[in-house]
Amino acid sequence: MSDRDDRFVEMLLTHEIAQFLYREAELLDERRYEAWLALLSDDIRYWMPMRRNVKFGEESREFTREITDINWFDEGKETLTRRVRQIETGIHWAEEPVSRIAHLVTNVQLIEAMPSAAEAREVSVKCRFLIYRNRVETETDILVGKREDLLRRDGDDWKIARRKIILDQNVLLSKNLTFFF
């Protein structure tokens, strides 16, 4: 293939991945949780570290460590499924009445396609998110940050095998995290 063809293949893949991420966001915002859970691989790692204020040059200590430290989230599919089931009880007061949530996914960047863009079985993708939550009457949260996802080819579609969520906050400004990133 020519360089031009390579770039074309990569562009198509980036488009496909972005469409996948938008569709995922749509499922969450429409509260179609079963379909959302089906997009998660059985071995998914869902990790959201906490962040410290550290001196310039000491960035290695900025984030709490996966599997080792306390994090906002550090879990797999079983716990994510339980979180969905909890919302579905209808008596999970923190989401009852249910919140109005919009996921804005933007700055989608294809970081790596393995083994290649033409035959991608796994892709590493970065994006920015803005999650808007409004609940009951006037309670509103806006959470902004970065996501690093590892997607795995699954037939004609993709599954999320890993999600690292970098929230751009130190003290969490929301009273809870009852929604998905």
Binding site: M48, P49, M50, R52, N53, V54, K55, E58, R61, T64, R65, I67, T68, D69, I70, N71, W72, F73, D74, E75, T79, R82, R83, R85, Q86, T89, I91, H92, W93, A94, V136, E139, N170, V171, L172, L173, S174, K175, N176, L177, T178
Partner: protein, 460 residues
Amino acid sequence: MATAHVGGYRPGLVDLKTGQISREIFVNEDIYAEEQERVFARAWLYVGHESQVPNPGDFFVSGMGEESVILTRDRAGQVRVFLNSCRHRGMKVCRYDEGNTTVFTCPYHGWSYGTDGRLVGVPYFREAYHSQLDRLQWGLVEVAQTCVHKGTVWATWDKDAPPFLEYLGDFARYLDQMFDSWDGSDGGTEILGGVQKWLVPSNWKFPAENFSGDSYHNISHRSVDMVGAGPSGSGRRDMPELNLARKLHIAIPDRGHQTTAYLLPREVEVPAGYQHSPVVSDYFKKCEEARRQQRGDWGRLITLVGEVFPSMAFLARQPRTIAVWHPRGPHQTEVWRWFLVDKNAPQDVKNFLRDYYIRYSGPAGMTEQDDMENWGYAHKASRGTIARRYSYSYEQGMGTEVDNYEWEGFSLPGSVTDLTQAKSSEHNLRNLYRRWAEFMEASDWDELASWRRAQRAAAE
């Protein structure tokens, strides 16, 4: 708003005879301001854990009430606590959460302070101050007293406050289980990395009373009981103990500390918990046995959730955590959360517990999410002029507490309510507010340390 002081704190706003407490103490801004003076500036407050500052120069920025403070270990190895505010113009001298340093330099005009708080650097000292500034007088403001207790660091701004162990009184024994290893070895706990910090839209006393022993809020957590987030699968995680033990509320009336606890029977073996994980189940079984051997009757007592007056809460059983309620105005609280494990536990056990802690506690915790929803909207719905006219009811179980509680030959200090039949009581909550009202009215520590008067009288 102006109704705050009608009748005073005792018995007016906090009426323990009728079991009614005014909403004003939660929502009134004048009361809030007074509370900062009378409660937070006089009580002992939890600052952090020694293991967060293991080496000289290590620091951890913490909070005491509304104040930002620096917990540090100076060059001599001493744990120190300073107000995080430059003496010259008030700028925070440290805006990192933690780290290691030799000096704290103010980014505004450049005054710098050693880890012992001394003012060591003043720009243009000779030229602009003509070498006249008395640098010894201008060190960082230090707390009046500090105490390291089983690895935990406590401090107070009040030089007249009694020493920390006297402040705890009989409560120290109940707190042991929080800081000791589960097998009963002294102080054998460590902090997991990462302190959770988040904002809750309610007065700090909502979480404080909840952790003092609100055993009535079952409906809050029914959804998590249904889906199961606990380490033993679905349902409540403490079923084995619930079915065997005496369930107790224990309050120390003259100190304002209180906890809930299970007292296990002497002869019966408690069924193993954590059955999803044999290694964890085995670990706790061995610890239970060791603790009983080492501590005798005290080894049969399992401290659950409790509160050291005013703003440090704990959960001694798993998920083992320390929470501090930092007031951020009458209508907001910043919660800080530390998590502990046994230092000598196998790594598998630590990992298992860490997963469980995250799943249970804090803003992403499947259990606590529902608490914060309730505190927030309870507070919000109590702010109106009309709403404030109506007291909250704390009448549950009034008069059912006993002194010198005894079961199977083991006598417990404090004022105890046996909830095995009654299920719930607000005895512990009343104890919290009794002490709160005393702090709000007392002019000094001589008045607050009522046990000293009793001791003096006995001596005479």
